[in-house]
């Protein structure tokens, strides 16, 4: 009888100890997480004004360093905002105009003007940012990048 009570009490103590650890972990995670969560919303939605539609020739690619994207104007006049980060391991891909391709310096992946993979090891096309055209002005929202399987004409924004 006495032993059972002792066992019961020590179980309770253990449970309380476990609870204390959980609480401390939760407090620590909340403390650290609260600061992290704030960072992006400080900047609000990140919309970049790229410029008037006419400035971009069909078949051209323009780099926007601040927004970390390329604005590609396709031959049919559609706009694509391509994230400059290689989908393989995150290197920045430069646009090689002569060869009409994005060539990653890190592992030799290559992408065409639509962001589609020309040569592996990249597993998927370059990510997109959403493009809006308001009153003939191209705007790119870089808050969230969009993953995709391959290029489809509907992904391009047209005037």
């Amino acid at each position: 009888m006495k032993k059972d009570r002792r066992k019961f009490l020590s179980r309770i103590l253990q449970a309380l100890g476990g609870l204390a650890v959980l609480e401390a972990t939760w407090v620590a995670a909340t403390f650290l997480g609260s600061q992290r969560g704030k960072a992006p919303s400080d900047n609000g939605a990140r919309v970049h004004v790229a410029g008037p539609v006419e400035r971009f020739e069909p078949g051209s690619v323009t780099a926007f360093r601040d927004g970390e994207f390329y604005l590609a104007r396709l031959q049919d006049g559609g706009f694509l905002a391509l994230h400059r980060k290689c989908t393989h391991l995150g290197c920045t891909v430069p646009w090689i105009a002569d060869e009409q391709r994005f060539a990653c310096p890190c592992h030799a992946s290559a992408f065409d003007i639509h962001g589609d993979v020309l040569s592996s090891p990249a597993p998927r096309p370059l990510d997109l940012f959403s493009v809006q055209i308001e009153n003939g002005i191209v705007k790119v929202d870089t808050t969230k990048s969009i993953r995709r399987g391959r290029f489809e004409p509907l992904q391009a924004t047209r005037v």
Binding site: P40, C91, C104, P105, C106, A108, S120
Partner: protein, 475 residues
């Protein structure tokens, strides 16, 4: 009878069993003798190698003569400790100068290098100690494995050692980002992107490490905190435990005596001076070597980090280049998840496999064990470069079956081939070479270690622009 010196008088602690022979009367367990008891280590004029009671406390009073033989252990564990102390000393100094933010990090390193006295030396010692520590810790693990020091009481210490190795790698990796130059920025980018391929939790881990979607101010703070407090604290705690477990297991492994395994057989000598002398020599040699290397080569510092331009080639730190090399041959899911997971499971299970014997203390177990290990090393030395070359020039970028999905063509198919090769190798060892379980496991371990060393060497010296295969002098 183990004499101890306390102040000017000499004190001797006697076991009850020894009492009868010395004193004619029975007494409590301990007797405080006021007269000196002379032994080899406390003769007048003898100077102890260590009057420090902490250093004495941390080790036994006597060790087997065999344990002193340098080629048994090569002093690798002690070297790791010395390197870690050098890292803590220099790191502690740099904390006062370094500023953990993307704007200030590189500039503060420049201040350290160019304006502060001994700044370059201190950074150089830190850099080279870190790189050497990884190499020495890996060699230490190899030594422990090849002398069979992972049976019985040493089981748990194998796991603690693995934990220490993991902590060392994390500490080195988190330190790699801090200089904020091009090399560090892109190496960390590549490594954290590798994590993103771990199914399910990969992206979440990546976000926690980076403190956001990409490397930024939060990343520097995270890495700085991990590098300068979390990792050192964990390392010290686990390291102490590691040493204590060595004591529990009766010191370093020694080969079985001529008669039986009993300790009574072995010849014992006092730790002070025999072991302490040797440890001091190793320590001084390590410190001198690190100083010379640091003075000659310093720590590299490239252009400041630039998120817009990836250097070509962009490589992970050398200790992860084996995995980056795997990435060139396997689908990312296999290269950064399945293969490392299998390696981890295999290495963790080493002390828990069913062995034919628990023999330890002899390198490579036996003459036959050594022969089989050499066969394994040669196989790896030939097969790994062949695999790399075949993948580069015969198979090509499409994978084995260019028309199927990359997961099969670049992942499942080569992976199954690799597994089949390993199983076949194991079967040959057991059948043809009549290897015991100990010898077979040892050979597989050697096969794996040498393969990975070849992969790492390829990544470091044979991968140039665009990660194409080149000769070392063409990089």
């Amino acid at each position: 009878m183990y004499p101890q010196r306390r102040g000017r008088s000499y004190v001797v602690l006697l076991k009850t069993s020894e009492l009868a022979s010395v004193y004619p009367y029975s007494s409590p367990d301990l007797i405080w003798a006021t007269e000196p008891v002379w032994t080899s280590t406390n003769k007048p004029g003898y100077r102890s190698f260590s009057a420090n009671t902490l250093i004495r406390h941390a080790r036994p009073k006597h060790v087997p003569v065999e344990a002193l033989r340098y080629t048994l252990t090569f002093g690798l564990g002690g070297m790791s400790l010395v390197l870690l102390l050098l890292l803590m000393g220099t790191g502690l100094l740099m904390i006062f100068v370094y500023e953990p933010s993307p704007e200030r990090a590189y500039a503060s390193i420049l201040v350290m290098q160019q304006e502060m006295l001994f700044g370059g030396l201190i950074r150089g010692v830190h850099y080279w100690s870190a790189n050497l520590l990884i190499a020495v810790a890996l060699l230490h693990m190899l030594r422990v494995f090849l002398t069979g020091a992972f049976h019985g009481l040493r089981r748990s210490n194998w796991l603690i050692g693995l934990g220490l190795l993991f902590l060392i790698l994390v500490a080195a990796f988190t330190g790699y980002l801090l200089p904020w130059d091009q090399t560090s920025y892109w190496a960390i980018t590549i490594c954290t992107e590798m994590l993103g391929y771990v199914p399910g939790i990969g992206t979440a881990i990546q976000r926690v490490l980076l403190g956001g979607a990409e490397i930024g101010p939060a990343t520097v703070i995270n890495f700085y905190a991990a590098h300068t407090s979390i990792m050192p604290i964990l390392l010290v705690v686990l390291m102490t435990y590691h040493f204590w477990r060595v004591r529990i297991a009766g010191g370093v492994v020694v080969p079985p005596g001529p008669g039986d395994h009993s300790e009574a057989d072995a010849e014992y000598v006092p730790v002070d001076p025999h072991l302490l002398l040797r440890e001091y020599v190793v320590m001084l040699v390590v410190i001198a070597s690190v100083l010379v290397i640091a003075i000659l080569f310093g720590a590299p510092l490239g252009e400041p980090a630039n998120a817009g331009v990836s250097p070509n080639p962009a490589k992970a730190p050398w200790y992860f280049l084996g995995f980056q090399e795997l990435l060139l041959h396997f689908h990312p899911l296999f290269a950064v998840f399945i293969v490392p997971l299998l390696i981890a499971v295999a290495v963790i299970s080493v002390p828990f496999l069913k062995y034919d014997s628990e023999q330890s203390g002899t390198w490579f177990l036996s003459a036959a064990g050594r022969r089989i290990a050499i066969v394994a090393a040669t196989t790896a030395l030939l097969a790994t470069p062949l695999w790399i070359l075949a993948d580069e020039f015969v198979v090509g970028p499409g994978g084995w079956l260019p028309n199927s999905s990359p997961l099969v063509s670049n992942g499942l198919l080569p992976f199954i081939t690799l597994l089949a090769g390993i199983v076949a190798f194991y079967a040959v060892l057991r059948k043809k070479f009549a290897a015991s379980m100990n010898e077979a496991v040892q050979a597989l371990f050697v096969l794996f270690v040498v393969s990975f060393a070849v992969l790492t060497a390829t990544g470091v010296w044979f991968r140039g622009s665009g990660m194409a295969l080149v000769w070392p002098w063409q990089i």
